[in-house]
C-alpha cells in the first residue's frame, strides 16, 4: 500500500501567496522549485477535496468558444462527479458522470481527469471529425485557495476558474439559476448591449445570445473593428474569458444589479447596460421581427384602445378575425404597420409603409408614408374599408419610448405621446 502524505492546513497557509506577511513569501520562493511544486500538489489535493458540495467550473473549451458551466465534486478516493446541462453536449438535460481524477506533477501541479467522464470529456472527444470541441481535461493549477482555483488548459492554454459551490446549493438548482440569469440578460431576442467605462459608452456588444460577444468600439464599424470576446453565464451574472483592460480599470466578472437592469463589474467602474428604448425598438423591427400592439387595459391607454376596438369590430362585422396589428420590416414595403386577419383558411396580411425615426435623444416619431406610386393593395384595403385610417392618424406623432421590465432583455417598449400622457401603448415582441 502506498501512502501519500498530505497536509491540511488552515487557510492562512493554503493561501500563503496572498498573505500579508511578505517575509514568508520571500522565504518560500527561495526554496527549490521541486519543493514548492510538491507543496502545491499537496495543497491542490486538499483544497479540491475540501469542498463538500463541489466546485463550479467555468469551462471554456478553447479561447474562441463560449463558456460552459460544470459542477465538479472531488472525493478523497480519487473519484470525481461532474454535472452539466447545456444544449451543446447534454441536449439541454441535466447529466452527471463519475470517473477518476488526480493531481500529478508536470511543469507545475496538473489537475487531470484521467479516465473518461461522459460529461467533461464530451468537450474533448475528437468525435468523428478528429477534432470535436478541442477542450482540455488536463489543467495546470496556477493558483489555489479555499474559494478559487485558477487553472490553465495544458493544450489550449485557456484560463478556467473553479469556484467553491455554496454548501446548501442544490446541483440541479444551480443550473436552473443559470438559465434564469441567462433569460434575464438575453431573453427572447438578444439586442445590442453597451459597455460603459466610467460613465462613458466604450463598446457595442452584439451576438450575446451565442455567449460570444462581438465587441465594437463606440463609433467604429463592426466589420473593421469588431472582435470576439467569449463569456460564461454565472449564477450572479457573467464572466468574460479575458478581462477588458481600459483606462486603468480591468473588468472580467459582472454581477446583475438588484433591479436586474444592468451588469456591474467588481470595482463598479464598468457596466453592461441596455441601449436606449428607441434603439431597442428599431433594432428588433429591423431584424424583421414583429412588435405588436397588445390589446388589453394594462398595455394601452383608453384613447388607443377605443381606436383598436373600432378596427376589431369592423373586422368582426365582416366575419373575419383580427389576429394582430404591429410594426415590422417587410421585404417589399420596408418598415411597415402590419395588420393580419383570418377567416378559416383565408389569411390576409396587409402593410402600410411607415417611418420610425429617432428625432432626438430617446424620442421617436411615427409617420405614415401615405400611398405613393406603389403600395401594398391589402394594406390599402384595410386602410380604406376596415377603419384602419383613423387608427393610423391617431398613432402618428412624437413619442417618448421606455423599456418595460428588466432592461437588458426586455422586448416590451412603451410609447407615450410626447405631449399627451394619456396617449400611450406597449409594443411586444411577437
Amino acid at each position: 500500500m502506498k501512502k501519500r502524505i498530505t497536509y491540511i492546513l488552515l487557510t492562512a497557509i493554503i493561501s500563503w501567496s496572498m498573505s500579508s506577511c511578505s517575509l514568508t513569501e520571500e522565504d518560500l520562493f527561495s526554496e527549490s522549485a521541486a519543493i514548492r511544486l510538491n507543496n502545491s500538489i499537496a495543497n491542490a489535493d486538499t483544497i479540491l477535496v475540501s469542498a463538500k458540495n463541489g466546485w463550479e467550473m467555468l469551462y471554456f473549451p478553447t479561447k474562441s468558444s463560449a463558456g460552459y458551466n460544470m459542477l465538479v465534486k472531488f472525493d478523497a478516493d480519487f473519484n470525481v462527479t461532474v454535472a452539466a446541462q447545456n444544449t451543446l453536449t447534454t441536449n439541454g438535460q441535466y447529466k452527471t458522470s463519475k470517473s477518476l481524477w488526480d493531481v500529478i506533477q508536470g511543469s507545475g501541479p496538473i489537475l487531470t481527469f484521467n479516465t473518461y467522464n461522459d460529461v467533461l470529456h464530451a468537450f474533448s472527444d475528437p468525435q468523428d471529425d478528429g477534432v470535436g470541441y478541442e477542450g482540455d481535461y488536463e489543467f495546470i493549477v496556477l493558483s489555489a485557495d479555499s474559494n478559487t482555483l485558477k487553472l490553465k488548459g495544458v493544450k489550449r492554454g485557456t484560463i478556467i476558474y473553479m469556484k467553491r459551490l455554496a454548501k446548501n446549493q442544490s446541483w440541479t438548482g444551480y443550473f436552473e439559476k443559470l438559465d434564469s440569469v441567462n433569460q434575464t440578460i438575453f431573453g427572447r431576442f438578444s439586442t445590442t448591449l453597451k459597455l460603459q467605462i466610467n460613465g462613458a459608452e466604450a463598446f457595442s456588444l452584439t451576438n450575446g445570445n451565442t455567449h460570444i460577444f462581438t465587441f465594437t468600439p463606440e463609433g467604429e464599424s463592426i466589420l473593421d473593428s469588431g472582435y470576439e470576446v467569449p463569456f460564461i453565464i454565472t449564477n450572479y451574472g457573467l464572466q468574460l474569458l479575458t478581462p477588458i483592460n481600459q483606462e486603468s480599470s480591468s473588468a472580467q466578472e459582472f454581477v446583475l444589479s438588484d433591479d436586474k437592469n444592468e451588469l456591474v463589474s467588481e470595482d463598479g467602474n464598468t457596466k453592461i447596460i441596455s441601449q436606449p428604448a428607441s434603439d431597442v425598438l428599431i433594432e428588433i423591427i429591423s431584424a424583421k421581427k414583429y412588435m405588436n400592439f397588445n390589446y388589453s387595459d394594462e398595455h394601452m391607454s383608453s384613447i388607443i384602445k377605443n381606436a383598436y376596438y373600432t378596427i376589431d369590430s369592423t373586422v368582426s362585422a365582416k366575419t373575419r378575425k383580427l389576429e394582430y396589428i404591429g410594426f415590422t420590416n417587410n421585404k417589399g414595403w420596408g418598415t411597415s404597420l402590419a395588420i393580419y386577419t383570418t377567416k378559416t383558411s383565408n389569411k390576409i396580411e396587409g402593410f402600410l409603409s411607415f417611418t420610425i425615426s429617432e428625432t432626438s435623444a430617446n424620442e421617436l416619431t411615427l409617420k405614415f408614408n401615405n400611398f405613393g406610386d406603389s403600395y401594398d393593395k391589402n394594406g390599402k384595403t384595410y386602410y380604406d374599408s376596415y377603419n384602419l385610417s383613423d387608427f393610423v392618424s391617431l398613432i402618428e406623432g412624437e413619442y417618448i419610448p421606455t423599456i418595460i421590465g428588466h432592461k437588458l432583455s426586455s422586448t416590451t417598449i412603451r410609447l407615450t405621446d410626447k405631449n399627451n400622457p394619456n396617449k400611450w401603448f406597449d409594443l411586444d415582441l411577437k
Binding site: M1, K2, K3, R4, I5, T6, Y7, I8, L9, L10, A12, I13, W16, S19, S20, C21, L23, T24, D27, L28, E31, A34, I35, N38, N39, A42, D45, T46, A76, D77, F78, S99, L100, D102, I104, G106, I110, T112, F113, N114, T115, Y116, H121, S124, D125, P126, D129, G130, V131, G132, E134, Y137, E138, V154, K155
Partner: protein, 318 residues
C-alpha cells in the same frame, strides 16, 4: 523520493513560521491521506505488473501522448474489459503456446490505453496502435470496445495487439530480407489508404480486397511498406476467420487493379509470405504460428466467459 520532499516541506513550514512576526501558522494539522489502490489496480498488479513487469496504464496522461491529436481517456469499464481481454487473447496465449516466461522477456513494459482514435483528417486515416522502442504499446479508440462483438474487436484491438507485438519482435530479430522482395515495387507509403475499401466496415467478412490482394497484400495497410506488410500478414493470420481468408485468397487470385499479373498470383504470394513468417517465428523464436492461431481461435469462442471471469476476479479484490 516523495518522503525526502515532504521532509523538506516541513522544514519550509517551520522556517516560514519563525520568520513571520504574526502568529498565523500555528494551527497546522498533519494528516495522512491514503491512496489505497482500487480493486482494478490490484488486479493489474497481480496480472501484469508481477508476472510481466508491465505497467498497464489505463489512466491517461495526455501530456505524455502525441499532442498533435485530440485524444481522450478510456472509460474505466472499457479499460477493465481491455485489460482482461488483452491478457486472455494475447498474454495467456503466449504463455500456453510458447512458455510462461516468453512475454516476461520480450513483451512490452507498458500498455497505454487511449479512449479515442488518433485521427489524421488530411490522410483520412486513424492510428489504432503504436509500438515505441519495443517497450511501449499504445492502443487507441478503446471506448469503442464491444465486449460481445468478436469480429469488431478482432479488427480494432486484437489484430492491433498482435500487430504491435510483432513489431516488437522484429525490432529485436530482423525478418528475412526475402520477404520484402515478393511484392517489391508495389509498396506505396503515401497513398496506401486509397487502396482500402471505404464502403465496407473494416470488420466485415466480405470486403473489396481487389486493390491490394492481387499484388500479394493481406490489407491496404500491409501495402504501405514491408515492415507493416510483415506484421499485418502475421496478425491477420492469427485473428481473422477462415471465411475471411478464403475470400481474401479468392480475390488475390484475380488480376490486379491495373491488370497486373504476379508470378503465381497474389494468392500464391500471400501463401509464400505466410510460410516465411512461420519459418522465422519457428526458427528465431521457437513459436509455432499455427499453434498460436489455433489457440487464439479456441479462445475467441469463450470471450464472454473470460470477461465475466475477469470481472469477478477484479471484484474479489474489493
Amino acid at each position: 523520493m516523495k518522503k525526502i520532499l515532504t521532509g523538506l516541506l516541513l522544514i519550509t513550514l517551520i522556517f516560514s513560521q519563525t520568520s513571520c512576526s504574526e502568529d498565523e501558522f500555528t494551527d497546522s494539522i498533519f494528516v495522512e491521506k491514503s491512496v489505497d489502490k482500487t480493486a482494478f489496480d490490484k488486479w493489474l498488479d497481480a496480472n501484469y505488473l508481477e508476472p510481466y513487469n508491465l505497467d498497464f496504464r489505463y489512466r491517461m496522461q495526455d501530456a505524455g501522448s502525441n499532442t498533435s491529436y485530440n485524444l481522450v481517456p478510456t472509460k474505466l469499464e472499457k479499460s477493465e474489459e481491455m485489460a482482461i481481454l488483452a491478457k486472455y487473447l494475447w498474454f495467456d496465449v503466449y504463455g500456453e503456446v510458447v512458455n510462461e516466461d516468453f512475454l516476461k522477456y520480450y513483451g512490452p513494459r507498458m500498455i497505454h490505453l487511449i479512449g479515442s482514435a488518433a485521427y489524421n483528417p488530411n490522410q483520412r486515416t486513424r492510428i489504432l496502435g503504436t509500438a515505441e522502442g519495443g517497450i511501449k504499446v499504445t492502443l487507441y479508440d478503446c471506448n469503442q470496445l464491444q465486449a460481445d462483438n468478436i469480429a469488431f474487436n478482432n479488427e480494432y484491438y486484437f489484430h492491433t495487439m498482435h500487430h504491435e507485438f510483432m513489431h516488437i519482435l522484429h525490432q529485436q530479430k530482423a525478418y528475412p530480407k526475402e520477404f520484402e522482395t515478393l511484392s517489391a515495387g508495389y509498396y506505396d507509403p503515401m497513398y496506401w489508404q486509397e487502396r482500402d475499401d471505404d464502403s465496407t466496415p473494416q470488420e466485415a467478412v466480405i470486403r473489396d480486397h481487389s486493390q491490394y490482394a492481387p499484388l500479394g497484400f493481406v490489407s491496404a495497410y500491409a501495402s504501405s511498406q514491408p515492415r507493416e506488410d510483415f506484421v499485418e500478414t502475421i496478425s491477420l493470420y492469427i485473428t481473422k476467420s477462415d471465411d475471411w481468408w478464403n475470400e481474401l485468397l479468392r480475390q488475390a487470385a484475380l488480376p490486379g487493379p491495373n491488370g497486373e499479373t504476379m508470378p503465381g498470383t497474389g494468392a500464391g504470394i500471400i501463401e509464400e509470405k505466410i510460410n516465411i513468417c512461420k519459418k522465422w517465428l519457428l526458427e528465431r523464436w521457437d513459436i509455432n504460428l499455427d499453434s498460436l492461431r489455433q489457440n487464439v481461435r479456441e479462445r475467441q469462442l469463450h470471450v464472454n466467459e473470460a470477461v465475466e471471469k475477469g470481472k469477478a476476479e477484479i471484484d474479489s479484490y474489493k
